[in-house]
């Protein structure tokens, strides 16, 4: 596996339309991102189409990474996860056509911010561990499977509104833990 610094270097070159770097980036990261597409979509052909869209976006939007200050792998993971969810929702006919990736903030990176983000990201597992197991599972289900409130409510056998109250409360606790 390539290190964070190498991935960042490759994305930096891709932003300058360096095709060789794009090939190396693809070879270094596509298995991870394909795993994510498969996890969300649970369909090989769809995951392949999603992965292709992901790398088209990476090629076109690599320049956005530079102004962003997040870790390079989580940037890629977010694109893969969000593209997969878009496809999942489109399959179910509920796409809203909005893409969070298009709305990434244009904030100047600070070294402190980057370092904090990288150490902080690892803490989510620990903070989820502080939640009751079914609530942690709901958060994970929303992220890794693209579950909607309706699906989570059915899965956990509670009314929709209860589910939302429940999950918002869990996200609040998660935030308190992460900000601690």
């Amino acid at each position: 596996m390539h290190g964070t610094s190498e991935i960042e270097h490759l994305i930096g070159r891709v932003a300058l339309h360096d095709r060789a770097a794009f090939g190396v980036l693809y070879d270094a990261t596509s298995a991870k991102l394909f795993g994510i597409c498969l996890r969300v979509l649970r369909d090989r052909a769809e995951a392949e189409d999603a992965l292709q869209e992901v790398y088209v976006r990476v090629w076109q939007n690599a320049g956005r990474y530079s102004a962003d200050g997040r870790s390079p792998m989580s940037w890629l993971v977010t694109i893969a996860r969000n593209r997969s969810i878009d496809r999942l929702r489109a399959r179910r006919g509920g796409s809203d056509g909005l893409d969070a990736v298009e709305l990434l903030p244009d904030l100047g990176p600070t070294p402190e911010g980057v370092a904090l983000a990288r150490s902080e990201a690892g803490r989510i597992g620990q903070c989820l561990g502080e939640l009751p197991p079914d609530r942690a599972a709901a958060v994970k289900g929303a992220y890794l499977e693209g579950a909607t409130y309706q699906e989570l409510a059915e899965r956990h056998g509670v009314p929709l509104n209860t589910m939302r109250t429940w999950l918002r409360r869990s996200l609040q606790l998660l935030r308190d833990c992460l900000n601690r």
Partner: protein
């Protein structure tokens, strides 16, 4: 990317719902509208995306089928190719095997399988990773020896108000030669004067902090913030 400190608790939770794609369509559209106008909200969403991305650590990598790589290169670069099929693929990923990055075994298997190989006529290209030791400033530079252009992408760090970054070419055993003040945009292309082009491969690139407009003396007056070696791709 940490959550901005001035964000309302309720908004912070809605930002998480937004990042998770949980919001009902009408609320999502309303929140997206606010995002356009509120940088703190965008930062909150980005902070959540960063945090949630760690949940993907548990996802096992699955190598995608090799044909996907070919399909992708066809989609992105196909129309620029001189002709179809194998020749096109050769051109598309040219230089791949020359890259300084270690190519994985899987990649070599792929190269063999698709009979991809670097083309000998590929333009001589060089790369430098110009970075500060503490990563507070980082630029990637690509040098095209034929065109004499240096393409720059600043990944981290920004210049202080009223100051400029100046780029220096430092050939082995020679004094630094100024390549000029760096444009403030993250990405920029600089033309290297013809007389200096042969000196670029193997030289160091360095960035110093200078008064606005660059060093008044012709040598670096401020601290050298980042250095990197120019290497063949």
């Amino acid at each position: 990317m940490t959550e901005p400190s001035d964000i309302d608790g309720d908004d912070a939770v809605t930002a998480a719902e937004y990042a998770l794609r949980l919001l009902p369509p009408d609320e999502r559209a309303a929140f997206a509208g606010r995002l356009a106008a509120e940088p703190a909200l965008r930062a909150a969403v980005a902070a959540w995306e960063e945090r949630f991305a760690a949940l993907a650590d548990e996802v096992e990598p699955v190598p995608p089928p090799p044909r996907l790589r070919a399909r992708l290169s066809d989609e992105l670069f196909g129309e620029e190719a001189p002709s179809g099929g194998l020749l096109r693929r050769l051109a598309i990923w040219r230089g791949l095997a020359f890259t300084g990055m270690a190519a994985s075994v899987a990649m070599f298997a792929l190269l063999l399988q698709d009979r991809w190989a670097p083309t000998p006529e590929a333009a001589p290209a060089f790369v430098a990773d110009v970075a500060a030791e503490d990563a507070s400033l980082r630029l990637v530079a690509l040098f095209d020896a034929e065109a004499g252009t240096l393409r720059l992408n600043r990944l981290a760090g920004s210049v202080a108000a009223g100051r400029d970054f100046e780029l220096w070419l430092v050939p082995p055993e020679q004094a630094p030669i100024s390549l000029g003040v760096l444009p403030h945009a993250a990405r920029a292309t600089i033309r290297v004067p013809e007389a200096l082009r042969d000196l670029v491969p193997g030289a160091l690139l360095a960035v110093s902090d200078e008064p606005a407009g660059g060093s008044p003396t012709g040598t670096a007056t401020g601290p050298v913030l980042a250095v990197g070696q120019v290497e063949a791709i």
